[in-house]
Structures are given as structure tokens and as C-alpha cells.
């Protein structure tokens, strides 16, 4: 009798060993779809660098399975994203599609995640609705509402009464505009003009002039990562800083990557965001140092999206013992929490969206370089758009 159980046990162990051996043989493939060329190329580079850094630090094997990242360039064109995602799922049999530099790209791939039961891990795009488009989507970046709502609170409390909003005319911009304006008006502020400019836009001058002529206390601005520099340059060129108009906004405009090149003009700009290269934690200092060593640029908020995305995949795989099918993996991801270079973060078990701290920061000079220096924290912010829907 006892022998039989032993035999059974041995058999079971053997079987287990066999299956895990089988797993060990074929790697977990991650399809990383990023804009590596075109207008959003800097976003792609940042995320790629974050992903690479994570793999370098933590090895390329998790729970006995090798991690294989397949990088594809979609140039931020959603048709490309869709085709690449489809090919990755069908031909390369990836377990996770990740990346997605812009919202339309993330949305385009969502039906594929559902149909193929594959995790779609959003590492950059910041529109609220994305995670609702498939039960297999999780996000490690941010939503614009997350930073815009605390920003409105802060602005209302700090003597800013009249605001002109200026946003890029696409979903994240609309999110930022709406969540900021709603909250700001609730708190007694006034939005005197809402300006939207096209996503691809050569010259901000006329829009800025229009904003300036409305004579606001502050301009709330959202431009996608990479365009902030031109905006700030033209803001100072108009002499708006001297006219006493403040720049506030989600942190995209004072992107850490471009900040050093923007010049002293940006000093004093106040933004709300989830990550600053200056975040005062040991984890972040180590991160920034390692990042700069591996690349010749500073990490920005996009890079931590990639870094944390890899962390989420690694930890989820550890939890499932290497099982990588969509349902198991997404279940493992829900509710996961950890300490990221940006601070404590977790994945909301209900919405699969990220919960994180939002920091108020001001641009200051530290050791000759410009940084977003954090001065206040709003803790554990859930995506306000989805929270409001309940």
C-alpha cells in the first residue's frame, strides 16, 4: 500500500518533472511592439532601454523558462501595430504582447488580445479606456487622469484661478483636458479657454499667443512625450514666463529625457506625474545610475513603464510556476504590488490598471542639471475616470 503511494508520488513527480522540463525547453516569448522609428521614436527607445535593463539585472530565465523578447517597430501607426501583433500571436506564439507607444496602437491590438487569449501589457499609452477594451489588458504606465486630477486640486489650492488648457488633439489629450477641467471647476477655478492643437504640429506660436491673450494665471498643457521641448522653448520665446503665466500640466511636458536641453526657461514649471528621475529613493538612484551607464540618455517616465512591465511579467510567471497562458497569467497579475523606481505601485485587481503615487514636482537645478523635484505626494491614486464610472 505504502509502496503504491510512493510509486504514485514518484510517478507524479516524474510527470511534473516532465512537464516542467517541457516548459523549460520552450521559452516564454514576449512580443514588444514599439515605435522605434518616426515621430514617437524616443518613446520606443526609452521603453526598450527599460526592458533591456530589467533583463540585464534579473537574468533571462524565470521559473525555469527562458524569456525571449521579440522587438517589432510599428512607427506608431496602428495598422502596423495590429498586423504585427497578429503575426506575433499567430506565428511566433507569444504569450504577451507588450509596449504600445500611443493610444490608437494599444486600442488596435485589444481585440487580438481577447481573441488570442494573450496578455496585452501597455507600457506607455495613457488613455483611460484602454484597459476596458479586453480582459487581458494590464497597464504599467499611467493614465492621464491620474495626474490631471491631483494637478487640478493642487492648482485650486495654490492661488491659480483662471486657466487656459492646451492639449494635443487626441484621446490622451482629451482625457487630460476633461479630468483637469472638471475637477478644477468643482474646486472653484475657471477654465477660460480650451485649445486643442493637432498631434503633428510644427509651430506652437499662434496657439500660445492665443492662450496668452486670454491672460490666464496658468496654462495647463499636455503634449505627448518628445514634444515638450519645443513647447517650452516657444513659451519662453513669447516672454510668457515674464508675463507671470505659469506652466502646469501632467509631467509629459517636462519629460526627463528632454529637460536638460530645455534651458533655464523651464525653471519653476509645476507638473504632476508618477515618475521623476530625481525621485528620492535608493531604488531609483540605482535605477538611474544603471540606466545612464547602459544608455547615453536619462531615463524618463516611459522607461519605467517598460522596466515595471517586465517586472510584472517576471513576478507573474514566478507565481504561476512558468505557466503562461492568458487566463492564468492575468489572474496572477491582478493585485500584484511592488516597489518600483517610481515608488510603491500595484495592479488594480478589478480594472487591471495601475495604482500609484502621483507627485507634484517643480523644475529646479541640481548640480547644474535640470530636474523635476518632487515636493508633494498624492498616494495610491486609482484611475479617476474608471473610479467615477462606478
Amino acid at each position: 500500500m505504502r509502496r503504491l503511494t510512493a510509486l504514485k508520488a514518484a510517478l507524479a513527480v516524474g510527470l511534473l518533472g516532465l512537464t516542467s522540463a517541457a516548459w523549460a525547453q520552450d521559452p516564454v516569448k514576449i512580443g514588444l511592439i514599439l515605435p522605434m522609428t518616426g515621430q514617437q521614436a524616443s518613446t520606443g527607445k526609452q521603453i526598450k532601454a527599460g526592458v533591456d535593463l530589467y533583463i540585464k539585472e534579473h537574468g533571462d530565465t524565470v521559473a525555469g523558462r527562458k524569456i525571449e523578447v521579440i522587438l517589432k517597430d510599428d512607427a506608431a501607426v496602428p495598422d502596423n501595430t495590429k498586423r504585427l501583433a497578429q503575426e506575433l500571436i499567430v506565428n511566433d506564439k507569444v504569450s504577451v504582447i507588450a509596449g504600445f507607444g500611443v493610444t490608437p496602437a494599444a486600442l488596435a491590438a485589444a481585440p487580438l488580445a481577447t481573441e488570442g487569449k494573450v496578455i496585452e501589457l501597455v507600457m506607455a499609452a495613457g488613455t483611460s479606456i484602454i484597459t476596458e477594451r479586453s480582459p487581458y489588458i494590464a497597464r504599467t504606465s499611467f493614465t492621464l487622469a491620474q495626474s490631471s486630477v491631483p494637478l487640478a486640486d493642487w492648482a485650486a489650492k495654490n492661488g491659480i484661478k483662471k486657466v487656459v488648457t492646451m492639449v494635443s488633439d487626441y484621446a490622451p489629450g482629451h482625457d487630460a483636458e476633461k479630468s483637469f477641467s472638471d475637477r478644477f471647476k468643482e474646486a472653484g477655478g475657471e477654465v477660460i479657454e480650451a485649445i486643442r492643437f493637432p498631434l503633428a504640429n510644427p509651430d506652437f506660436a499662434p496657439f500660445l499667443q492665443r492662450a496668452a491673450d486670454a491672460k490666464p494665471d496658468a496654462i495647463m498643457v499636455f503634449v505627448p512625450s518628445g514634444q515638450g521641448g519645443t513647447f517650452m522653448k516657444q513659451f519662453t520665446e513669447r516672454g510668457l514666463d515674464k508675463a507671470g503665466i505659469k506652466v502646469i500640466g501632467p509631467g509629459d511636458v517636462t519629460d526627463d529625457d528632454l529637460l536638460p536641453a530645455m534651458g533655464d526657461a523651464v525653471l519653476g514649471a509645476v507638473t504632476a506625474h508618477f515618475y521623476s528621475a530625481d525621485h528620492p529613493s535608493a531604488k531609483n538612484q540605482a535605477y538611474v545610475e544603471a540606466f545612464k551607464k547602459a544608455n547615453n540618455f536619462r531615463p524618463n517616465f516611459m522607461s519605467v513603464g517598460g522596466y515595471d512591465g517586465m517586472h510584472l511579467i517576471y513576478e507573474a510567471l514566478k507565481k504561476t510556476g512558468g505557466k503562461a497562458d492568458g487566463d492564468t497569467l492575468i489572474a496572477a497579475m491582478k493585485g500584484m504590488s511592488w516597489e518600483s523606481p517610481r515608488g510603491p505601485i500595484s495592479i488594480d485587481p478589478e480594472t487591471r490598471d495601475i495604482i500609484q503615487n502621483v507627485y507634484m514636482r517643480k523644475v529646479e537645478k541640481k548640480a547644474g542639471e535640470l530636474y523635476n523635484v518632487e515636493f508633494a505626494t498624492f498616494e495610491g491614486i486609482k484611475d479617476p475616470v474608471k473610479a467615477a464610472k462606478k
Binding site: 522609428t37 521614436a41 486643442r196 493637432p198 509651430d203 499662434p206 521641448g229 516672454g239
Partner: protein
């Protein structure tokens, strides 16, 4: 709003310096050089390196940017372009687009894909107030430099010996050769000069247009618009067209932010329906 008018003029002037080299190669040499923007980008990055890394003053960096881009243009003309002059326009499109793709990727590789900026001296930042009109100092500088350049160009083309040689070479290559004009040399110099101007435009425009590796693709359409609307037979045409488009674009975006981008395209279509050879064409089409 005089400030808007001023901004529009500065923007138009900038477009002119960027595009006039293209007008020269297209109109005078009958060569479709879509890679024109790549030379502008080269000038821009050259200035960034000179000013930011080597600490050369901005104003001194401008002529250097002109010179280095001109040399670059000359080198390309002698080695590559010279083989393509006689090919069909479609082949020229293929060839120059190829060059654009290469330049975009190469700059991305060398300089990174983030936007870069020239560190301007502080006396060029901000606005001065003249009779209640806010005038951007940097834009004023653009207007001055570009205005002088336009006069110089007009003089060279219309009055100088080189200008007459160029016009002769364009009108009838064979006869010009027979008269002892070194047609190849004239073309090479013209091309180099056009590239140099683009480089200077890139150096000046980096501040306003933003400089990143996809610059040549992003602004290719604008250059082409300037050249077609202005017509390719003179320098005055593209100049006035640039001003028209600059002011139209800026004013359109200011007064009708929601319709802003329509303005420039609509102007172009209307002008081309009305005058298919461009606003200021003389005589027949090339």
C-alpha cells in the same frame, strides 16, 4: 494683431530660407531633390554640436553651418547626384527619398531620436516691446538675416557674372558649353549654395520648428508647397509664397485654432487651380 503678423512673417522668412535651395535645384536645374530637408537637418545638427558641445557663439556657428552643409552638398553632388541628373523625375524621386531615409536613420543612430535644441545666448531670448507690439527677439533676428539673404540672392542671380552663367547653363546646356561655360561646375556650385542655404535655414529653424531625426520628412511637404505656390522660375516667387503661407498659417491657427491646418493646404490648392504654374511664373512650364 501685429504680433501675429510679425510671427507669420518670421515663420515665412524661415520657410523661404529652407525652401529656396529647393526652388533653385527644381526650377533652374530641373532636378527633384526631395532630400533637401536632409541638408537642412544637417545644418541644424551641425549648429547644435558647435554651440552646445564646443561652445562656439551662436552667431559664429551660423556661417559655419552654412559652410559645412555647402561642402556636404558639394560632396554629394559630385559623387552621387551627378549620376542622376539625366534620369527621369521618378528615378530622382526614388533616389532622393532613399537619401532621406538613410539620413533619418543615420542621424537617429548618431544623435539619438529625442529632440535637440540649440542653447541660445540670453540676449536672443524673450520679447521686446515696440509700441505695444510684442516682438520676439529671435524672430527679429530671423527676419533680418533672411531679408539680407534674399537681397543677396536676388543680386547674385540677376546681376552677377555667376548668375548669368547659371541662367545660360539652364536655358541651353549645349550652347552654354560651347561658349566655354563650365556647366558641371556651375551646377555643382549652385547645388552647394542651395544646400548651404538649407543648412542655414535648419540652423535658424531648430529653435522654432524643433530638430529631430525625422525633420526632413516632416517638413518636405512644406518646402514643396512653397516652391509650387511660388513657381520655380524666380526667387521672388517662392519668397512671396513663403510670406503668404507663413502669415496665412500663423493667422489661421490663431483665429481659427480648430481649422488651423486647413488654411495652408487650401491656399495651395486654390492658388494652383488659379495659376497652375505657381503665382509668379513667367512664360511656359519647364
Amino acid at each position: 494683431m501685429l504680433t501675429i503678423l510679425f510671427d507669420g512673417i518670421a515663420y515665412g522668412m524661415l520657410l523661404f530660407v529652407l525652401a529656396c535651395g529647393l526652388a533653385v535645384t527644381l526650377g533652374l536645374m530641373n532636378f527633384v531633390n526631395l532630400a533637401h530637408g536632409a541638408f537642412a537637418m544637417a545644418g541644424g545638427y551641425c549648429t547644435v554640436i558647435l554651440v552646445n558641445r564646443w561652445g562656439i557663439p551662436f552667431l559664429a556657428a551660423l556661417p559655419l553651418a552654412f559652410l559645412s552643409t555647402a561642402i556636404l552638398g558639394l560632396a554629394f553632388e559630385r559623387t552621387l547626384y551627378i549620376h542622376v541628373y539625366r534620369k527621369s523625375h521618378l528615378d530622382q524621386v526614388l533616389f532622393t527619398i532613399g537619401l532621406v531615409f538613410m539620413s533619418v536613420a543615420a542621424v537617429d543612430y548618431v544623435m539619438g531620436s529625442s529632440q535637440v535644441f540649440v542653447q541660445l545666448p540670453s540676449w536672443l531670448e524673450g520679447q521686446i516691446n515696440v509700441l505695444g507690439v510684442g516682438i520676439g527677439r529671435y524672430r527679429l533676428l530671423i527676419i533680418i538675416i533672411c531679408g539680407l539673404l534674399t537681397l543677396l540672392l536676388q543680386f547674385i542671380l540677376a546681376r552677377s557674372r555667376f548668375g548669368s552663367r547659371l541662367r545660360a547653363a539652364v536655358d541651353d546646356q549645349r550652347v552654354a558649353r560651347g561658349l566655354g561655360i563650365n556647366v558641371g561646375g556651375v551646377f555643382a556650385l549652385t547645388f552647394a549654395f542651395g544646400s548651404g542655404l538649407a543648412g542655414l535655414g535648419g540652423a535658424l529653424g531648430a529653435e522654432i520648428l524643433g530638430l529631430d531625426p525625422i525633420f526632413p520628412l516632416k517638413y518636405m511637404i512644406y518646402f514643396l508647397i512653397v516652391v509650387t505656390v511660388g513657381g520655380t522660375s524666380s526667387i521672388t516667387g517662392p519668397f512671396l509664397a513663403s510670406l503668404l503661407l507663413g502669415v496665412g498659417d500663423v493667422a489661421g491657427k490663431y483665429y481659427m485654432p480648430t481649422l488651423g491646418a486647413f488654411v495652408i493646404y487650401t491656399i495651395m490648392i486654390l492658388v494652383l487651380i488659379w495659376r497652375p504654374q505657381g503665382l509668379f511664373a513667367r512664360g511656359g512650364a519647364r
